[in-house]
Symmetry: C2
Subunit: 120 residues, 2 copies
């Protein structure tokens, strides 16, 4: 079974995660056949490993991790591959793949431009 | 004259800003009549104040600041209003307004969901 993890940075303020909760809710409404979990790099739970464990328990064998970051800096270039490899070692029955950051996607950038245009 | 500032967090890795440069470029292609500047909270230039100064010099009198953040945590709830007020005090001839974070926009979230769906 396929599954998806929406992976964000995390922040101290619990309200920071609201858009992430909304993202997961949108995903569930539109792609109910593909379980989704959020995961955070720091300051919020669950961790990537906890999210993989949860989806694996639900029967996921192929998990795609989508970094919900704009830019690919040190977190995505250095920290994230290490976390991903640790999860691969810990869950050998699960195939884990990662997409580029959502900020690399032209449609996401266009949605931001359109948002700015509506507000200007 | 109206103008827009796309305001991001900033990061140590200079490659982190690539999506922001792409955003500004898209904006210029599609909304050439409304000057755009990037600005960053920390670790990257220009600052919000430098971006407002630059646009003001170009003749901008109404500037909309769009926080290119997913979540509204401490940075947007605490640091950003202080920066904005400092700019208002320093540039009294410019009307500065701010939108919610782009992560509050349903179309932006939908574009992220669609990206995930294409990659899963």
């Amino acid at each position: 079974m396929k599954a998806i993890i929406l992976f964000g940075h995390g922040a101290r303020d619990p309200r920071w995660r609201e858009p992430f909760d909304r993202l997961a809710e949108l995903w569930r409404q539109q792609h109910a056949e593909t379980p989704v979990e959020l995961a955070f790099l720091e300051m919020m739970q669950p961790s990537l490993e906890e999210a993989v464990a949860s989806l694996s328990t639900q029967g996921a064998t192929q998990i795609t991790v989508v970094p919900v970051f704009f830019g690919q800096g040190g977190h995505l270039r250095n920290d994230f591959p290490v976390l991903l490899d640790a999860c691969r070692a810990k869950f050998p029955a699960v195939t884990l793949s990662a997409t580029p950051a959502v900020g690399e996607d032209l449609a996401v950038l266009q949605a931001i431009v359109d948002f700015g245009a509506r507000k200007t």
